[in-house]
C-alpha cells in the first residue's frame, strides 16, 4: 500500500541529488534528468495522497496546489548556486505556506507570515547577501564562488533526509481512523460562548438587531450577558437585576458565531493563556536588538591586518 510513497521518496532523493550543485569533479550531472525525476516524485507523492484520501473528504484542492509550489520552491532553495535566488525562492515557499494557512482557516497567521517572513526577515537576508558578496572580476560575473558551486556531502545528506521523510510518512499514515482523536478537554469553548462571554458588545448588537434586547436600557449597569451553555443566554437588564433567558435558534447561533474572526480567537488565546510568553518574547526581541547593535558596531581587524593570515591552500 505504502510502496508508491517509498518509490516517490527514492525518486525524490535521486532528483535532489542530481540537481544539487556538482561535487567538483569533471563529471557533469544530468540536471534535466534530475528535474524530470523530481516532477515524477512530486506527482507520485500527490497521487499517493489522493489515494489515501480515497472516499473521505480529504483536504481542499488548493492544498495540493500550494504543497506542490512549496515543494518545488524548497528544492530550488537548497539547490540554486546563487544565494540571492535561493532567498527569492524562499519567499515563494513562505507564500505557499501562507496559502496552506488560508486553507487551514488560520488567516491571521497567513498574513503575519507574509508580513514578517517575506517582508522583514527575507529583506534582512538580502541585505546581508548584498554586504557579504565578493566583488567579481570582469568577465567572471556569471561564476559563483566555489563554496556555492560545490556541495558538501550531497549524497549522504540526501539519503539521510529522504530516509527520515519515508519513516515520517509511514508513521503519519499508519494511524488508523479513530486512533488519534481530537482532544475535547482542551478544545475551544465554541464560538457562541466566546462571543457572549468575552465580547458582549458584539453579542448585544446582534440581540438588539433581533429585538431580543431593548436598545436603550436606563441605569448605569446596562445589560450583562453570559452564556449558559451553547443554546441559552442569560441577560440581566438594568439596575433591578431582572434576569431574562434568551433561547438561541440555529440561525441566531450562526450569526453570533459569525461575529468572531480568527484574529479574535488568536488574540484571546494569546492574552488569556500565555501572558508570560508575550513578556518573554518582548525581552528576547529587545535582547536580540541590543546584541545585533553591539555586534554591528564592533570593529574587527582582517586576518591580514592582524598578521596571522593563512593562505587558503594550507587551511
Amino acid at each position: 500500500m505504502d510502496y508508491v510513497f517509498y518509490i516517490a521518496s527514492v525518486l525524490g532523493a535521486l532528483a535532489v541529488w542530481l540537481v544539487m550543485p556538482s561535487t567538483g569533479s569533471n563529471f557533469r550531472k544530468p540536471r534535466k534528468l534530475g528535474a524530470l525525476l523530481g516532477l515524477a516524485a512530486l506527482g507520485g507523492g500527490l497521487m499517493f495522497l489522493l489515494k489515501q484520501a480515497g472516499d473521505q473528504p480529504g483536504p481542499d484542492v488548493f492544498y495540493y496546489v500550494f504543497t506542490a509550489i512549496a515543494a518545488i520552491a524548497a528544492v530550488r532553495v537548497i539547490t540554486h548556486p546563487r544565494p540571492v535566488y535561493a532567498a527569492l525562492y524562499f519567499v515563494l515557499v513562505v507564500l505557499a505556506v501562507a496559502g496552506l494557512f488560508i486553507v487551514l482557516e488560520a488567516e491571521f497567521m497567513a498574513f503575519a507570515l507574509v508580513i514578517i517572513y517575506a517582508g522583514a526577515i527575507l529583506v534582512t537576508y538580502l541585505f546581508v547577501i548584498m554586504l557579504a558578496t565578493l566583488p567579481q572580476a570582469v568577465g567572471e560575473e556569471e561564476k559563483a564562488p566555489a563554496y556555492d558551486r560545490v556541495a558538501r556531502e550531497p549524497f549522504s545528506s540526501v539519503v539521510l533526509g529522504f530516509a527520515l521523510l519515508a519513516v515520517l510518512g509511514h508513521v503519519i499514515f499508519s494511524a488508523k481512523p479513530g486512533e488519534l482523536q481530537p482532544t475535547q478537554r482542551y478544545a475551544s469553548k465554541g464560538d457562541v460562548v466566546t462571543v457572549v462571554n468575552d465580547m458582549p458588545k458584539r453579542a448585544m448588537k446582534v440581540l438588539v438587531a433581533h429585538d431580543l434586547l431593548p436598545a436603550d436600557v436606563p441605569g448605569a449597569k446596562g445589560v450583562r450577558l453570559w452564556a449558559a451553555g451553547d443554546r441559552k443566554i442569560v441577560a440581566v437588564i438594568g439596575d433591578k437585576d431582572a434576569a431574562v433567558d434568551i433561547e438561541l435558534n440555529d440561525e441566531l447561533r450562526a450569526e453570533l458565531a459569525g461575529q468572531i474572526a480568527n484574529i479574535d480567537r488568536v488574540g484571546l488565546a494569546l492574552f488569556e493563556s500565555h501572558p508570560l510568553g508575550i513578556e518573554l518574547a518582548g525581552v528576547i526581541l529587545l535582547l536580540s536588538m541590543v546584541g545585533a547593535i553591539v555586534i554591528g558596531k564592533k570593529r574587527v581587524l582582517t586576518e591580514i591586518e592582524e598578521g596571522h593570515f593563512v593562505p587558503p591552500a594550507k587551511r
Binding site: 544539487m20 495522497l49 473528504p57 483536504p59 492544498y63 504543497t67 512549496a70 515543494a71 524548497a74 532553495v77 537548497i78 544565494p83 524562499f90 515557499v93 494557512f101 488560520a106 497567521m109 503575519a112 507570515l113 514578517i116 526577515i121 537576508y125 554586504l131 557579504a132 564562488p145 563554496y147 556541495a151 558538501r152 556531502e153 550531497p154 545528506s157 540526501v158 539521510l160 533526509g161 529522504f162 527520515l164 521523510l165 499514515f173 494511524a175 479513530g178 488519534l180 481530537p182 478544545a187 475551544s188 480567537r265 488568536v266 494569546l270 493563556s273 518574547a281 526581541l285 536580540s288 536588538m289 545585533a292 555586534i295 554591528g296 564592533k298 574587527v300 582582517t302 586576518e303 587551511r315
Partner: protein, 103 residues
C-alpha cells in the same frame, strides 16, 4: 475541526519542508544559505503546529506560531550580524573555512 486524513496530509507537507531544509543545511556550504535552510525547517514546523491546532480545535498551536516567528526574527538579526562580522574578518562565506576550532 477536521478529519484525520486531512491532518495527515498537512503533517506530510510539514515533514517535507523540514526534511528539505535539513538536507540543505547539511549539503550547502554558504553560511547564509545554511541559515535560510533553518528558516525552511521552521516553515515545516509551523505548518505542523497550525494543522494540529485546527485538528484539536485549540488555538494554542497558532499562538505558538507567533512565538516561533518572534524567535526566527531575533535569530535572523543575531546570526546575520555574526555572518557580517565573520565576513569582515575573512572575506569568504564558506562554512568549511571556519574550522580552526576543530582541534
Amino acid at each position: 475541526m477536521m478529519d484525520l486524513q486531512t491532518l495527515n496530509h498537512f503533517l506530510l507537507t510539514g515533514a517535507l519542508l523540514f526534511v528539505l531544509g535539513l538536507i540543505g543545511f547539511i549539503a550547502r556550504r554558504n553560511l547564509i544559505v545554511m541559515f535560510l535552510c533553518t528558516e525552511m525547517m521552521f516553515q515545516g514546523v509551523v505548518v505542523t503546529l497550525t494543522a494540529f491546532s485546527k485538528f484539536h480545535d485549540n488555538l494554542d498551536g497558532q499562538v505558538f506560531v507567533i512565538f516561533v516567528l518572534t524567535i526566527a526574527a531575533a535569530e535572523a538579526a543575531m546570526a546575520l550580524g555574526l555572518v557580517v562580522l565573520l565576513y569582515r574578518r575573512r572575506p569568504t562565506l564558506d562554512a568549511e573555512s571556519w574550522s580552526t576550532m576543530k582541534g
